[in-house]
Amino acid sequence: MTRPQTAQASHRIALLFNANKVYDRGVITGIGNYLLSTRVAWDLFLEEDFRCRLNGIERFEGDGIIADFDDPGVAEALGDSQLPVVAVGSSYSDPACYPARLPYIATDNAKLISLAYTHLIGAGLQRFALYSLPESAENRWAQERELAFKALLAADGLQADIHRGLPTSAPVWSQASAQLTSWLESLPKPVGVIAVTDARARHLLQACLISGIPVPEQVAIIGIDNDPLTRSLTRIPLSSVIQGTEEMGRTAAHLLHQMLGGARFHGRRILVPPVGINVLESTRHQPVSSPYVMRARHYIRQYGCQGIKTEQVADYVGVSRSSLEDHFRRELGCTVHQEILNHKLEVAKQLLARHDLSSAEVAIRCGFTSLQYMYAVFRRELDCTPREYQERLPVAPCAQPG
């Protein structure tokens, strides 16, 4: 095996990805991290708008290619390439679906779904459903996730309820939403729903909010991709499985690096497991029996940071304030006001963990009437100041390479 350790003449490498998506960006980041961690100098070719275009790729005067093989066009265009190629893409339960002769780095769909599923079980759910995508050559990974879901539920003796829905496009949007809503309404509840992407999870969340289904009490939702854009579009923060995209990129770059030194990895497959779950409100399922408490918490989760008071919560639920307080005391052992405050505190903790906002900004975003009040709440509930809380957060022990 060759193990180049020294700087070499730079190789020209094409990266064929649609890096407008968080998944592809993760893979490319991993490739970049690998290069920074070594003395490898590659002259990287990427389209300026980070979109993958195949016209002329056969005339690319380079030394190697790392490409997204989820795109059938890419797989076809590179089938006969004379250059070293490392393929990246979906895992398949049927080995015949992989390109025969290329090294292939896969996201492990079975592990992604199993992680989401066990997380929902841990959250206390006993019924499960999957929101997938219509079958197409571009998203064979969605079908792989369906297969993984079916296999897991079959092993546990459960029925797998799968809704593929319609393709997302402006003309059929309202029809798609109506179908999704009636599917959601038809499901026995409470139910945990896995969405094959965060984009699909956002549809689910939106459909639940519009039809007044409490999330996560009646429908707990988890997506895949941990896409920050999706998170910023949802009122209830979305839980999501984090794919090992950076490791996929590092692995692909490592194999290509070795291939440029003469190694051959004919048909070798490396499956990369997911690296985490971002656990947020959409799966913080706590079984409660009172429908009033359920509705109240649903409302607090959406509007708790906008200065709401107990009266508004009671109005939304449609019961008297004192009756709602009774239900809260029985079910949760606290007042409605305390629950609103807990919500603000949770959001404040999450914002502080980002390290990019001032305490004053955090106080405003969480609906505290003043910075002093937020300090007082932190002191009383956590026995520290917001700043001290921030400093206590664990920091990853290991330096980044490069």
Binding site: M1, Q5, G122, G124, H254, I270, P274, G276, P397, P401
Partner: protein
């Protein structure tokens, strides 16, 4: 300096300790099991047999409690076992090439229990001895006497190990040993973790980071051949990576050991007792961090666990658990800097290693 003067994070510990009879050993001795409990319901069980870390029960993200250590049901199985699970290893953790070393111009010949080499203290290592144990504030102190000639080593060595458990989930192991004659000494704990708490699974889904720029490459008998940079190889965990993919990266060293069984050099960042390893299991949300004042951490991915009988008669599979063993470098007594692994009268051995179990933030 006695144990009480040792640096943070060697805190006094806050655990409550209880003790029970665990079971009989061949020959009639009785092994006891001590349980350390902290304020959050975390439970660590330690036996006086081999000062063994038997179980570590802690909650996952959803509050379900499970044991994150591989182990056996009875002390007799630990005594007969060959997997060293949770045991304290002495006098020499890992291997000594050809079971030989020279010290002060005298050549010593040791027990050979792995081919030509000595492994993990030889056949009658510290892990198979019944230690003296007494409860102390926040934990447990265990002592062990190793007579001159034990596995062929010189000197009478007296070892004290203090385990303490804190409310933040930190388990600290403070070792101190004295000898009446110069002798090499390298102690470690062979705890084998699977943070999922599911002994039937493997650690391929675990994600690890190790703050080390170099590690030791090994020969076919797993004796270090030389130090190598981690950069550009499967061994680079300076940024966190899931183990499932790394175990499949092409590397002759991984093929040789059947996975990772390599010593990382962690003592060179000047950050004594700072965290050097972070390990988490995405499914359960459990996270283990580790720090040590030892120069090396042997990272072992359970490459030979296949077929070992664990609890309830179930057999472990390959990679069922992983070890993070703090200590000197394997075979260091025969390498450069051999002097630093020699304990002399008046110059005691000291190692502090901590493991903290919690949840991912």
């Amino acid at each position: 300096m006695n144990l009480a003067d040792m640096p943070t994070p060697l805190r006094p510990g806050s655990a409550r300790v209880s003790v029970e009879r665990w079971g009989e050993l061949p020959g009639g001795d009785v092994a006891r099991l001590f349980t350390l409990r902290n304020a959050h319901g975390m439970r660590v069980a330690i036996s006086d047999l081999g000062a063994t870390l038997v179980s570590w029960n802690t909650a996952d993200r959803a509050g379900r409690v499970a044991d994150v250590l591989l182990g056996h049901d009875t002390p007799a199985e630990y005594f007969a076992g060959h997997a060293y699970l949770g045991g304290v290893i002495g006098r020499w953790a890992n291997r000594i090439e050809n079971a030989r070393f020279a010290l002060d111009n005298v050549a010593y010949s040791l027990d050979r229990n792995e081919g030509d080499n000595l492994l993990h203290g030889g056949a009658a290592g510290f892990h198979r001895s019944l230690w003296d144990a007494r409860e102390v504030a926040g934990g447990l102190v265990l002592t062990h006497e190793s007579p001159e000639g034990d596995a062929g080593f010189p000197g009478n060595v007296s070892t004290t190990l203090r385990y303490t458990l804190d409310d933040d989930g930190t388990l600290t192991l403070a070792y101190e040993a004295v000898s009446d004659a110069p002798t090499p000494l390298n102690l470690t704990n062979h705890a084998c973790f699977n943070l999922s708490g599911d002994e039937t699974g493997d650690i391929r889904g675990h994600v690890i980071s190790i703050d080390a720029d170099t590690f030791f490459e090994v020969d076919a008998a797993l004796i270090p051949e030389g130090r190598a940079q981690v950069a550009g190889h499967a061994f680079d965990f300076r940024a966190s990576a899931p183990l499932g993919a790394r175990l499949d990266w092409p590397h002759d060293q991984l093929a040789r050991a059947g996975g990772f069984d390599h010593c990382y050099v962690v003592g060179e960042n000047g950050k004594t007792l700072e965290p050097v390893v972070r390990l988490y299991d995405p499914g359960s949300g459990r996270e283990l961090t580790m720090g040590t004042n030892a120069p090396g951490v042997q990272f072992y991915t359970g490459n030979h666990l296949d077929g070992i009988v664990g609890r309830h008669g179930r057999r472990y599979g390959k990679h069922a658990g992983l070890c993070l063993q703090a200590g000197a470098f394997p075979n260091q007594v025969n390498m450069a800097d051999a002097g630093s692994v020699i304990v002399r009268p008046g110059e005691p051995y000291r190692q502090v290693t901590w493991y903290r179990l919690g949840l991912q933030q």
